[in-house]
């Protein structure tokens, strides 16, 4: 009997064959697309060498969705797309339409249902983000709530093409940075500001001391004897509050309601177009958590976006704009104070200084 159950159990079946999910036009023209055109911020068309066309309508999604949401988009895809759809890396839904006549009724249906159509071209793209308070134990802030607050404020930039170039915003609720946060036009990152608290007794049962010590990027964790038993101590002078030790050792919690919050980073990009991929740089070291609508973060992002929109040349990404005008002017325009925290003091810090007489005076 047990043997029979074991036999039936499915395991190691591997990735599903995507070919099953490609619509006929996509299958026919696979690898033979000629060009594409953006028709409006919610619609583009890809044209194949054969002359065949596939229209794409893009819709925003909060990434964390209900089964009912899934059925909503399935209803639309069944009605207009022969049951075919896909998602983008930035968590949008894309409806793939073969018949041009279906494009505008599909969009009308989505709008009627309260969904957001846009995100193509020189827009603010959907914000890539993490789980936050909804589902993560290391988060220094919520993720979905900040994203919702920022996207509500920037909504016009998702549905209309009126920026110099695309702006990719990303959010991570701690320095683990799930998602491509460290190289975004604007990055919002959950930040702790106090050292971990050590629960010596739990530590003895739960944590392996060598790996806890090895988890620290600044060698701030040292072996220690607590009540005659092995433990660890933290050098608070050199601790950078990254939370890496907490990931390895549950007895070193670092979350702190009064002192956790968010930092803002700018000018990163991943694409190789024109300039090389680059990390985002620090704009604001700390903004306190201010749920439910995080006005401090929303205003900071809005300020950056407004200055970028005013100052950048067509086609310039945020980082290219700042490179052209210089960091002093960025801080002047945005009104963000430049502080000691903006000067790097970690590994490779000395590569970031200005070794020249260049200054915009």
């Amino acid at each position: 009997m047990a043997e029979e159950v074991k036999k039936k159990r499915l395991t190691d079946i591997g990735p599903h064959d995507y070919n099953e999910y490609l619509s006929p036009v996509i299958k026919k023209n696979y690898g033979k697309w000629a060009y594409h055109e953006i028709l409006d911020p919610g619609t583009m068309v890809h044209v194949a060498e054969s002359g065949d066309k596939i229209y794409t309508v893009r819709m925003g999604s909060p990434r964390l969705v209900s089964g009912s949401f899934v059925r909503d988009i399935c209803d639309i895809a069944d009605k207009y797309c022969g049951g075919h759809l896909r998602f983008t890396t930035r968590n949008n839904v894309e409806f793939l339409i073969e018949d041009e006549k279906n494009v505008s009724p599909l969009k009308k249906d989505l709008e009627k249902m309260g969904y957001n159509v846009g995100g193509i071209g020189n827009i603010v793209a959907n914000i890539v983000h993490t789980q936050g308070w909804v589902h993560c134990h290391t988060s220094a802030s919520d993720a979905s709530g900040v994203v919702k607050s920022v996207m509500d404020e920037l909504y016009e930039y998702f549905i209309e093409d009126k920026l110099p170039s695309k702006v990719r915003i990303a959010f991570a609720c701690c320095l683990n940075m799930c998602g491509s946060v460290s190289s975004s036009d604007i990055a919002i990152v959950g930040t702790h500001r106090k050292p971990p608290r050590i629960d010596a007794e739990r530590l003895r049962n739960l944590c392996e001391i060598p790996s806890t010590i090895a988890a620290c990027p600044t060698n701030s964790i040292r072996p220690d004897t607590v009540d005659g038993k092995p433990g660890v101590k933290v050098n608070e002078e050199t601790c950078v509050f990254c939370g890496s030790c907490y990931t390895v050792c549950p007895a070193m919690p670092i979350a702190n309601a009064e002192n956790d919050g968010l930092s803002i980073w700018v000018g990163g990009k991943v694409s190789n177009a024109r300039t090389k991929p680059t990390f985002s740089k620090l704009a604001i070291p700390f903004i306190p958590n201010d749920p439910p609508r995080w006005p401090g973060v929303v205003n900071a992002v809005k300020t950056i976006l407004n200055e970028y929109k005013k100052g950048a040349e067509p086609g310039e990404r945020v980082g290219e704009w700042i490179d052209r005008i210089g960091w002093p002017r960025f801080f002047k325009l945005t009104g963000f104070p430049f502080t000691k925290y903006h000067i790097d003091d970690f590994r490779l810090a000395e590569t970031t200084m200005n070794y020249s007489s260049h200054a915009r005076l």
């Binding site: 944590c207 392996e208 790996s211 990931t247």
Partner: protein, 78 residues
């Protein structure tokens, strides 16, 4: 690797993990390296040892833990 050798390797692995419970968290690679040393004279390959590990996990004599990185441990109810 015949069944007899496999059994020997599995017992050795279980013994090692049990001995160090609460002291050291073994990653599979740590165990592979230990067993390679242990059974050097019998010419066992990495893949042999990995196969023994897989058996132990399929039988749930060993389970995975996670603390920043993955490691192998004895199931709590055993």
């Amino acid at each position: 690797m015949n069944d007899e050798t496999k059994k020997k390797v599995e017992d050795k692995i279980l013994g090692l993990v049990k001995e160090y419970v609460g002291k050291k968290r073994f990653k599979p690679i740590d165990i592979v390296k230990e067993m390679e040393k242990e059974f050097a004279s019998e010419g066992l390959t990495k893949d042999d040892i990995k196969a023994a590990l897989k058996d132990l996990m399929d039988e749930e004599k060993l389970v995975y833990g996670y603390a920043g990185g993955s490691f192998l441990t004895i199931p709590e109810n055993k």
